[in-house]
């Protein structure tokens, strides 16, 4: 993985970017940066400020809150947006369980990016709505 074209190809099939035309995908690829994390690397750190918004291109990671595994993330999943949107430190670690390639946008750039790409914002909102519904269902079942 490397060039903007390759990153644009990689994200073209992801739900989050499903509504974007090719030049907009290239714009996303030039605005985000690619990052690589070896197995066991902490990508997001619980209670530490200044994190970013990550979209997984390849690999797998666990979400761990207070030492408890809460979820597993894989290609196309994204994380870090809640912390950035609320301006608060993450409430969980995200730890690579296999070598992990992501694209990353620094926290201060996220608002501008979402405002410039309302279809991405809509898709992100849908994903958040799904997560909220899942949490409500789990809460109701307990």
């Amino acid at each position: 993985m490397a060039t903007r074209d390759e990153i644009a190809d990689a994200i073209a099939g992801m739900t989050l970017f499903a509504d974007l035309a090719r030049p907009q995908l290239l714009g996303v690829a030039s605005r985000f940066e690619e990052a690589f994390f070896p197995k066991d690397a902490r990508v997001l750190r619980q209670d530490l400020t200044g994190s970013g918004f990550y979209v997984i291109l390849d690999g797998e990671a666990d979400v761990i809150a207070d030492g408890m595994k809460r979820a597993t993330l894989a290609r196309g999943d994204f994380f870090g947006e809640v912390s950035v949107l609320l301006g608060e430190p993450p409430i969980a670690d995200v730890v690579a369980t296999r070598p992990l390639r992501c694209i990353v946008l620094g926290g201060p750039a996220v608002e501008g990016f979402l405002v410039d790409h309302p279809r991405v914002m809509y898709r992100m909102l849908q994903a958040q709505a799904r997560r909220l519904r899942g949490a409500n269902q789990r809460f109701a079942a307990e």
């Binding site: 907009q24 030039s30 070896p38 902490r42 750190r45 390639r101």
Partner: protein, 510 residues
């Protein structure tokens, strides 16, 4: 310019504990610290002399990195390094801060020849010897009863080593696979400025190299267009080295005032030659996906460089990003091939926490010179049994020590949120100054109670941050920003004193 005596060719082919490849500032700095720690190594370079990329670039022959000869600190002091981005580090006072010696007083940004002189002088005075004219060609690994060896094939023969450190820069021209890109020339092949007189120039890319060309060619070109898919930002807006440096803002003003410069946000669909002989650059606007085209006489691809890693990827070295940087640990070891390390500008591949989206300055000399010192210390500790100095501190002095570090330590100022000044509180070992440590190593490495001081930036302010490790838990405490960046006042002493109370109380009791 001094060229190494071809008769003096140290380090013949053979086995060495460490091979360092390169002779730019990153390689010189690494070799210097290895020598000072007494670690035997060979330094190999394809070039005829020291200097690396500064033997040729920047194209307009003036650097982006400053050295302020009359800074408020002695040139031989550690504090001066904050104001001097261009000198290599040294233990000997007479070898410190030497960049200013070669500057003619016309600018605080050295010219390229001044920078080259500075590096050559450092190598000569510090006794950093290299085998010049020796090109690394390929790499393989062999298992032996005594552990793995890397074999580096060079134009002079084979070298064997336990550890290899590559400081080969990010210097291989990269051009995207855009249709018609062969009609463009790369930044690296830009001609003399006067040959662009009266030409309509299209520059692909809106990073520093694109704006360097645009600035330098303003008086020559009849029109200049720059394009990339996303908007350009300046370092002033980001409060960091992310973005176009202030040296190159003139094209922004020309664009804003309609003065013959176009700064476009569009992706390049292709380049073709019109029947008239002109080049047609087909674009798609990023804002509305509408097509547009620009006619130009010349197209320059200021699209960056990649790492010349030769066959390291085939050996298993994972790379990422457009520059094909090797993925690295917090101590600049390949994340996928242990024993292979990196130095110099390549160390930007280990970006740390990148808090608030701001990377460390590891791509520049004033950042990676510290990485080299930390790297050598770690290699010495881990593989050569060299125990680093850890001076004892009185618990009562820790607060003032850390505030002094926050105010003056060049490592913290140049490598924000990346390198930290650390003090440990061990019940058996007492209070120790652990020196400069990668912040991620502090956060992930575990160990006794300790405190780490960093300087950080969030795009608006610069401020100190204190990380406390106490009873296995970690806390982060940001201190207030100070408009004069002086953190040694009573208010800071009180704030830090409160944070440190539990640690210092424990140390006193011990």
């Amino acid at each position: 310019m001094t060229v190494a005596d071809p008769q003096e060719r140290p380090f013949p082919p053979g086995e060495y504990p460490i091979i360092v490849v390169g002779s730019g500032p990153g390689a010189l700095q690494t070799s210097y610290f290895l020598s000072r720690l007494g670690i035997e190594h060979a330094l190999l370079s394809a070039d005829p002399g020291a200097g690396g990329m500064f033997r040729r670039w920047p194209f307009f022959q003036r650097l982006l990195s400053w050295t302020k000869p009359y800074a408020p600190a002695e040139r031989s002091s550690r504090a001066f390094e904050r104001w001097d981005w261009n000198s290599l580090l040294a233990l000997e006072p007479e070898l410190r801060g030497i960049a200013a010696e070669f500057m003619d007083g016309t600018s605080d940004f050295p010219s390229r020849p001044e920078m080259e002189e500075n590096l050559v002088a450092f190598a000569e005075r510090a006794g950093v010897r290299a085998r010049y004219g020796c090109r690394w060609q390929s790499t393989r690994r062999e298992e032996t009863a005594d552990g793995d060896r890397f074999i580096l094939t060079t134009t002079d023969g084979e070298y064997r080593c336990r550890f290899a450190i590559f400081a080969v820069g990010v210097a291989e021209p990269y051009s995207p696979s855009t249709p018609g890109i062969e009609l463009a020339v790369h930044y690296a092949d830009t001609r003399d400025a006067e040959t662009y007189a009266g030409k309509r120039l299209f520059i692909i890319g809106k990073q520093n190299s694109g704006f360097e060309l645009a600035s330098g060619l303003l008086q020559w070109a009849s029109r200049i267009s720059l394009s990339s898919p996303s908007p350009a930002k300046t370092s002033i807006e980001t409060h960091s080295l992310v973005g176009v440096r202030a040296r190159y803002v003139q094209p922004f003003e020309d664009s804003a005032l309609g003065g013959g410069v176009d700064i476009l946000s569009a992706s390049i669909k292709g380049i073709s030659r019109a029947p008239s002989g002109a080049l047609m650059v087909a674009l798609e606007r990023s804002d509305n996906a509408m097509p547009m085209s620009v006619e130009a006489d010349e197209v320059i691809a200021a699209t960056g460089f990649t790492c010349p890693l030769v066959d390291l990827p085939a050996l298993g070295v994972a790379t990422f990003g457009q520059s094909k940087l090797p993925a690295q640990t917090e101590f600049w070891e390949s994340a996928t091939v242990p024993g292979i390390f990196f130095a110099g500008t390549i160390t930007q591949g280990s970006a740390g926490l990148k808090k608030h989206g701001i990377p460390p300055n590891s791509g520049a000399l004033h950042g990676y010179r510290y990485n080299a010192r930390v790297l050598v210390r770690e290699i010495g500790r881990r593989h050569f049994g060299i125990v680093p100095e850890r001076p004892a501190l009185d618990a009562r002095d820790v607060r003032d020590h850390l505030l002094s570090e926050a105010t003056l330590a060049p490592e913290l100022w140049h490598q924000k949120a990346f390198l930290a000044s650390v003090v440990s509180f061990d019940t058996d070992d007492g209070v120790r100054d652990e020196g400069i440590v990668p912040l991620t190593s502090f956060l992930d490495g575990g160990g006794p109670d300790a405190v780490a001081m960093t300087i950080e930036a969030d795009g608006t302010n610069i401020y100190p941050v204190v990380y406390v490790r106490h009873g296995g838990r970690q806390e982060e405490h940001a201190l207030d920003a100070d408009p004069l960046h002086d953190y040694q006042s009573l208010a800071y002493r009180r704030a830090l004193g409160t944070i440190l109370e539990r640690l210092t109380a424990g140390a006193s009791a011990a």
